[in-house]
């Protein structure tokens, strides 16, 4: 398997094929990240496409400084989501539960689907930084260093953020189950 570094080098020289391989490799991660933040399939598709288009247009400005290409993509995705929310305030509701249910066929039972829906709603209601850390750490399983690079924060700050984010998520879920 060709390393990202090699593919980026070729993409910088104008090789669309190499960038295509980078796209194939990172699409799922970026799609998931955007989806969990906007909760709408159509908007997720638009933003994901925008992220990769922007990455392709600006591949020259990417410099490997000890953190992976994924961190750079997450940074673009994060900005795209922020821009999206700045221009249009989306509503999160039952749609989030139904779409999660579509994706969670493996979970099987209706109860489990509803549980996931609840987690998703709780996740989306968290502050943006908390969402980023939870998605990157517990869903995408990135290292603290990679998350720090993507969020432009120190590793220590990411650890603190992760701790707070998890506590907030638990709090929201506990409050939801008590009500």
């Amino acid at each position: 398997m060709i390393e990202d570094k090699e593919l980026i080098k070729k993409a910088k020289q104008g090789s669309a094929e190499s960038f295509g391989l980078l796209y194939d490799k990172h699409l799922n991660q970026i799609y998931r990240f955007v989806y969990l933040k906007v909760s709408n399939k159509q908007i997720t598709e638009d933003l994901t496409q925008q992220v990769f288009l922007s990455a392709w247009q600006n591949i020259d400005s990417y410099q490997h400084q000890g953190f992976p290409f994924t961190s750079w993509l997450y940074r673009i995705a994060r900005n795209a989501v922020i821009d999206h929310y700045r221009t249009s305030r989306s509503h999160i509701g039952l749609e989030a539960i139904s779409e999660v249910a579509d994706y969670s066929d493996l979970a099987g039972e209706l109860e489990a689907k509803l549980e996931l829906g609840k987690i998703k709603i709780a996740l989306v209601s968290l502050p943006s930084d908390y969402q980023d850390v939870i998605v990157m750490r517990f869903i995408e399983e990135l290292s603290h260093q990679e998350i720090a690079a993507a969020l432009n924060k120190s590793e220590g700050a990411v650890r603190v953020l992760q701790h707070r984010a998890l506590n907030s998520l638990k709090k929201i879920l506990n409050n939801g189950s008590n009500n």
Binding site: A16, L27, Y31, R32, S104, E115, K120, L169
Partner: protein
């Protein structure tokens, strides 16, 4: 690892539609790279810099050639002058040598007249 973090992993099943992936891939890769004004400016500067380097190299060549021409001209003139002076000296020496070996009528007359005047006075 608690229950919530375990459940969060279930979201790993979220993947884009194949149709979307293919369509987006095609659209992204077939898009031309758009140049921003900054990139255009850098491109222009690179071009000017490259052009100026070529111009500077050309100018340096012309300057070196000109130096050779000017140097050659003055050096040649000097050599010619030296040659001329040398030639003149040679011609003069030759003339005097020839005159000494085959004196002309007037020089013979001049000499005889000198000898006569020396004996008389």
């Amino acid at each position: 690892m608690d229950q919530i973090t375990k459940k969060l992993k279930t979201f790993q099943n979220i993947t884009p539609d194949r149709e979307f992936s293919q369509r987006a891939r095609f659209l992204i890769l077939s898009s031309k790279k758009i140049e921003t004004s900054k990139q255009r400016l850098f491109g222009y500067l690179r071009f000017v810099f490259a052009e100026s380097r070529i111009a500077a190299a050309g100018l340096a060549l012309v300057a070196v050639f000109a130096i050779f021409v000017v140097y050659g001209y003055f050096n040649g003139a000097k050599i010619q002058q030296a040659n001329n002076e040398e030639g003149l000296r040679l011609a003069e020496t030759q003339y005097y040598q020839q005159t000494a070996q085959n004196p002309s009528f007037f020089s013979r007359l001049e000499q005889k007249l000198g000898d006569f005047l020396n004996t008389v006075f």
